[in-house]
């Protein structure tokens, strides 16, 4: 499927003639890693319309994990996704989440609409009053994360706040690449180890390792932030909602779609 997507990008590049092709190849082979990352991001974001119905149906059946949706539900979900020109990853994410949370198909269709026509269009998730408030939140978040040397290149809002008009919480997922991730794991692991030794509570380290094996490091395991952890973000801005901030390991069960990526 990856090569299929790559081929489609190749065809798109060739639409602008030989110059377009050369430019595309240059961007892929660029020595600057960020170009390759951007090219791969572009590949990932190819629309659903580039897949055959059989390919999609197979994937939907595979991701209908608990068989929560019947074939007529899946058909309606597929048609809605096509109508919304949704990305394949997002469609799969909706079906997976719908299964786990047992969201009725009628409600799931509404949530798909909310995500594409409201959240992506206006550029901010539910739970915020306006774009300005969201941008203010993002600025504080990035500044707090930078203070503990955490990269802010790939931060995503996931979960109910990109799907439902009345979300229970705001889920923030931070994705780190290669060396940055290794460094952060080493740093947090040492902190948890020390905490376990000092307190005599082995659960600090043990549960950290269990969370990590599942694919996340939550903000509680982060190095201390001088501004009292994330209190400002977690409580002062959202009195009625939980704000969950975690480092998420790519391709783990916590790496879910749909999401809204924060601007760099």
């Amino acid at each position: 499927m990856f090569f299929c997507k790559l081929l489609q990008l190749f065809e798109k590049a060739c639409e602008s003639g030989f110059d377009g092709f050369v430019k595309w190849i240059r961007s892929l082979l660029s020595k600057e890693k960020k170009h390759l990352d951007e090219a791969l991001d572009e590949i990932e974001q190819i629309s659903l319309k580039n897949y055959s119905k059989t390919e999609i149906s197979t994937l939907l059946l595979q991701n209908n994990i608990n068989k929560f949706y019947n074939s007529s539900d899946l058909d309606a979900i597929y048609k809605k996704a096509l109508q919304l020109d949704m990305r394949l990853d997002d469609l799969i994410g909706f079906v997976k989440t719908g299964n786990i949370k047992e969201i009725k198909s009628v409600e799931l269709l509404k949530q798909m609409d909310n995500y594409i026509n409201i959240v992506l269009q206006r550029g901010y998730p539910f739970g915020f009053r306006n774009l300005k408030e969201f941008e203010q939140f993002c600025d504080i978040l990035k500044s707090e994360l930078s203070s503990i040397a955490l990269s802010t290149n790939d931060i995503r809002i996931q979960g109910s706040s990109v799907r439902s008009k009345n979300p229970n919480d705001i889920d923030i997922a931070i994705f780190l690449k290669d060396k940055d991730l290794d460094i952060f794991i080493n740093k947090t692991r040492e902190l948890r180890k020390e905490k376990s030794i000092i307190s005599g509570n082995p659960k600090f380290l043990k549960n950290y390792e269990r969370r990590l094996s599942l694919g996340k490091i939550n903000s509680f395991d982060f190095p201390k932030i001088k501004n009292d952890y994330f209190d400002l973000l977690k409580n002062n801005m959202f009195k009625d909602k939980k704000v969950q901030i975690s480092v998420i390991i790519e391709n783990s069960s916590f790496d879910v779609s749909p999401y809204l990526k924060l601007k760099k």
Partner: protein, 117 residues
């Protein structure tokens, strides 16, 4: 006396009896210039973290269930203000089933569910 070594710290644990008859341990964390005193009182453990000048920086309290498994862990500042609070719901073998983190105001910050290993 028990000495444990990890990558970047050397831990010295001295066990003794306190004047109250409870066991206590003194831990010296060499690399971080911290000194920790841990008091064990029945189903509670209290720990006091001092800096290199022996000024108290933090204090913690652990509550154990009848089987000796941790069920709550609270930490306080040197001014006795609650910093955070964790609650554990355990499987019968002591493994954590649910872990819930609360902030100083008692707001739930996060909760994690763990499958039995």
């Amino acid at each position: 006396m028990k000495i444990e070594e990890t990558n970047d710290l050397v831990l010295v644990i001295i066990q003794s009896q306190s004047e109250f008859g409870s066991a206590f341990e003194v831990l010296k964390l060499k690399s971080h210039n911290k000194k920790v005193i841990r008091l064990v009182k029945d189903k509670n453990i209290e720990y006091f973290i001092y800096n290199k000048n022996m000024i108290l920086s933090e204090k913690g309290m652990i509550e154990l269930d009848s089987n000796g498994f941790v069920i709550t862990n609270k930490e306080f500042s040197s001014k006795e203000e609650l910093l955070f609070h964790i609650e554990y719901e355990n499987y019968p073998n002591g493994e954590t089933k649910w872990e819930r983190h609360y902030d100083k105001k008692g707001n739930l910050l996060s909760e994690d569910f763990f499958e039995k290993e």
